[in-house]
């Protein structure tokens, strides 16, 4: 329906006074891709998104949309649909008039406007609400109007600034999937900003993890999840086992790390011998078996004592003391045999799920 365009952000820098908000950011978004800027508040993700939309100019660098330099174009000449965190609906207009606003500015014939408004409203399931005012709609419905209004102009690029953060958790999860499906149906290049890593994983083709104005990692949700490139990414996307250590020797794709719990093997990107690292390991990648079983060849293994066990429904959380200083958090899926407090267990994990990250 929409001809997909590529977006290229090239070495963009921005400072507000002494604060560098964006420090030489370069990102290429492919045509039709759903790209998410993920990071904590203050990481520069919203500033960057607003800059792509025309609300703010970089100090240096360029922004290209479908090969055209839009760095210094005002927002009304950019052809970007923008969905705001607050929705920013026009309160004095009906849903229909809100959606038609951008089409009227384009001076389209009335019949065409009417049919386009009807089409996008049916896409978001709001045909029956066309004559209501925004105040008469629920938060989720208002959110859909904001999306409908942004896609009605058939923009080359759809920008969304934390569009789900004002919704309650249940609705947020549902709209995630609707949003993803709508984006694929339209094939529209989309940039989405969020601080919620789960949301980013659920909707994105690729994720840019940002921190303090620079990029920590760009990758698919699986890459960000499975192979965090830095300590920051690992921490931000919910790896909560971090064991400090020192690289003993590098063996090609893996390294041996000396930790308080012993010598452990881990995958790595660019660690060298003698370097201080943190060994990052996801709780759900660890399997617990009763102690005394024969050693497995599959990878890492540590014996310890169950110190804490909490049943959470979908998973059971354990804390296993594997040495005086090291406690591993383990998430065992529902249905796995339970382990009693104080029992001796073996923690096992595949080598490629343990990452040596520069400390």
């Amino acid at each position: 329906m929409v001809n997909a365009s590529d977006l290229s952000i090239q070495s963009v820098t921005k400072s507000f006074g002494p604060n560098t908000v964006l420090d030489g950011i370069s990102i290429d978004v492919r045509p039709g891709e759903f790209m998410t800027f993920l990071g904590p508040s203050g990481c520069g993700k919203t500033t960057l998104l607003r800059m792509v939309g025309g609300f703010g100019e970089p100090d240096s660098g360029r922004i290209l949309l479908a090969g055209r330099d839009i760095t210094h174009l005002p927002p009304n000449q950019r052809d970007c649909g923008f969905v705001f965190q607050s929705y920013a609906l026009f309160p004095h207009m009906t849903v229909r008039a809100n959606v038609a606003y951008g089409l009227k500015l384009r001076k389209l014939p009335a019949a065409e406007i009417e049919s386009r408004v009807a089409t996008v409203l049916s896409m978001v399931g709001l045909e029956a609400f066309a004559d209501r005012h925004p105040k008469q709609l629920s938060g989720g419905q208002q959110q859909r109007v904001a999306i409908a209004r942004a896609i009605a102009i058939r923009p080359s690029l759809l920008l969304m600034d934390e569009p789900l953060s004002n919704l309650d958790a249940k609705l947020r999860e549902r709209i995630r999937f609707e949003l993803r499906a709508l984006q694929k149906q339209l094939g529209i290049t989309t940039v989405f900003v969020t601080h919620d890593q789960e949301e980013a994983m659920a909707v994105s083709d690729r994720i840019v993890v940002m921190n303090k104005g620079h990029i920590e990692q760009i990758g698919t949700p699986a890459e960000i999840y499975g192979e965090p490139a830095s300590l920051f990414v690992a921490d931000f996307v919910g790896v909560n086992n971090l064991v400090p250590g020192k690289v003993r020797e590098a063996r090609g794709r893996t390294v041996m790390v000396e930790t308080a719990a012993g010598l452990l093997e881990a995958s790595h990107r660019s660690s060298s011998t003698g370097e201080n690292v943190q060994l990052a390991l996801r709780p759900e990648m660890i399997t617990l078996v009763p102690a005394g079983q024969p050693a497995s060849a599959m990878g890492g293994e540590l014996e310890g004592t169950v110190r804490m066990a909490a049943f959470l429904g979908a998973a059971t959380r354990y804390e296993v003391q594997v040495s005086d200083e090291v406690v591993l958090k383990v998430a065992a899926p529902a249905g796995s045999p339970p382990h009693a407090l104080g029992s001796r267990v073996l923690c096992r994990w595949p080598v490629e799920s343990a990452h040596a990250l520069r400390a």
Binding site: G53, G54, N76, R78, F84, A88, P91, G102, R149, L159
Partner: protein
């Protein structure tokens, strides 16, 4: 079940005398004083015009008995009719341009104070409120000298009066607009921009309609301020300009208290009428 066991526990407790809690009031403050103050307020708002009304239609001046008409006659109204109509027309010729000018000056200033950050912003915010606390007579005196002998000498007294009224009226236009703009989501303008509107168009089609009720409140306040102004008009006027307050003053000055009362009543009726219409409009115009 649980209630029963609760009773058992209570019986086992030692029955030491518990001091009765001091009785407090659940009623909000001012519960008893406000009817009295309200009655006083109403009396003192209503009594002066009633006095004037009775003065203007009776042939004796007696606050108590004057309320009950003896020999009612509207001769004074008939007699001063042309002067009353003239003063109403003059007041309108000044109030309407004052309202328009206050809006044209006040809207950009209010917008800038709310949405823009610039050096001297705090100073400007204080400055626009200055006419509220500044004695109008001082301002009028200064304006009079400016227009009599300063760089603006020779300016039409109509223009001078409109400028004077605009200066003292501006806070009444700016304050409601500022309050309204502070409630409008900044992103609304951004949304209009991203949909293809120029900055001015985005403002005119999204923000302005949202703040219309507050603009009308400003219009009503500025209008009321302008038609009730006395000092500034008096010092800037020439004999051929006679606004409503000036006409009332002239009628009193002519030696007839009753004539003054008649002019005052007639002009005030008109003023109150306009304000009421504006107030109703403010309430009706909220169309969403």
């Amino acid at each position: 079940m649980s209630g029963l066991s609760g009773t058992v526990v209570a019986e086992k407790l030692p029955t030491a005398p518990v001091p009765a809690p001091r009785r407090g009031s659940f009623l909000p403050p001012f519960r008893w004083i406000f009817p009295a103050t309200t009655l006083g307020l109403i009396l003192f708002i209503i009594l002066p015009p009633i006095t004037l009304l009775s003065l203007s239609v009776n042939d004796r001046f007696d606050l108590v008995w004057g309320i009950f008409p003896a020999g009612v006659s509207f001769d004074l109204y008939r007699e001063s009719g042309p002067a009353i109509l003239r003063s109403v027309a003059h007041s309108m010729r000044i109030a309407v341009p004052t309202v328009i000018l206050s809006f044209l000056v006040g809207l950009p200033v209010a917008y800038a104070l709310v949405r823009l950050r610039f050096p001297g912003r705090g100073l400007l915010a204080e400055l626009v409120n200055l006419p509220l606390v500044f004695p109008p007579i001082v301002l009028a005196f200064g304006l009079m000298q400016m227009f009599k002998q300063g760089p603006f000498a020779g300016v039409s007294p109509w223009v001078a009066i409109v400028l004077g009224h605009t200066i003292v009226s501006l806070p009444f236009m700016i304050q409601p607009i500022i309050a309204a703009l502070q409630r409008v989501d900044i992103a609304v303008e951004d949304a209009a921009r991203s949909l293809g509107a120029s900055p001015l168009r985005a403002f005119l089609t999204t923000v302005l309609p949202i703040i219309v009720p507050s603009v009308l409140t400003g219009v009503a306040l500025v209008f009321a301020r302008s038609i009730s102004d006395f000092e500034i008009t008096l010092l800037l006027t020439t004999p051929e300009i006679s606004t409503m307050p000036i006409a009332i003053y002239q009628a009193f000055e002519s030696g007839s208290t009753r004539l003054g009362a008649a002019v005052a009543m007639a002009t005030n009726l008109f003023a109150v009428g306009v304000i009421v219409i504006l107030e109703v409009a403010v309430r009706r115009v909220r169309w969403w």
